[in-house]
Subunit: 134 residues, 3 copies
């Protein structure tokens, strides 16, 4: 089985859309999907996330994009990721960055995160497959 | 034939340079090159693109970089991508994000974009090769 | 031997952490590691680097992160990258962007950079392995 893995770091709300779309599409195509969440992106996976942020350079396009996503009845990135998980995708929070940010497994939304693991575990599980860094 | 694929999302002008350089270099080396344009990057591929933006953190280096690129007689990213296309590279605009942004195939510069397709089509064409997310 | 390669472009200080972590972890696991530094990230590899910058969207979390990294006694990204180099990782500065920024081999910290090479050389060395773009 082909593998498709993502390291999700950036954490602005716009970059969460491809996390949802690609995990869902790859899982539906039969890929073994692994998502390793680290950096600022960890904040988007909390039970109580802070308000979303958007990149300063494109903030003025956000209302147009939000309206378009709604009109297209596009599911949220979180719902797409949940669909991917229901098809076997695994989502891991980075143990080192969780510790550095003072976050533990209980802080993460259990509908989005499977476990807290280290980078070496992720590299092992993704070995031999495609990996992207978002 | 080895495959080299790019998902181009970010859309600030600086990140378009590696899109041009890597697509041109990979195509010249005989790779099968696929570029999937989505997110804010779609704006750079329009017939009538908005003015370019640069990341706020490095804006003050832009004049130095622009002068250096000119002195080095470096081609623009768009010209490098056109060269890549002339060697067989394909450039796709993401159908979902195009819809969400209210953009259709006619809005894209035909010298830069081959077609509007979905993420699943891109994943199929890039299967088994290297993929980066810019 | 599996290959793990990184194109490091972004240059904000936060994104240097995964450069250190992933290069060190991959090298320790026996991967052939190649790091191609380009764009704004070149500034972080200078003998005399400018002060670090952080993404505007997450600046207010930086003190918390810095304190957490210190409490966790996490090594700096530069020390992790030096460890990776001691295990065989190679770090290259992009020749085209170096020229455009007016930088030459002597400007780079020799404890961090092996050589100045072109994108084609990097693509050749990373062929057939995993590549991420940071």
């Amino acid at each position: 089985m082909s593998k498709f893995s993502m390291i999700v770091f950036s954490g602005t709300e716009d970059k969460m859309i491809p996390v949802g779309v690609l995990s869902q599409a790859a899982a539906a195509m039969g890929y073994e999907v692994r998502v390793f969440v680290t950096g600022w992106a960890l904040l988007r996976f909390l039970r109580n996330p802070p308000p979303p942020t958007w990149p300063k350079e494109f903030e003025h396009y956000v209302p147009r994009l939000a309206k378009g996503m709604e009109a297209a009845k596009a599911p949220t990135w979180a719902d797409m990721l949940r669909q991917a998980r229901s098809m076997g995708a695994k989502v891991y929070a980075c143990s080192m960055m969780s510790q550095a940010m003072g976050l533990s497994k209980e802080d993460y939304d259990p509908s989005l995160v499977d476990d807290v693991v280290g980078a070496a575990t992720f590299l092992q599980e993704s070995e031999g497959g495609q990996v992207i860094f978002i």
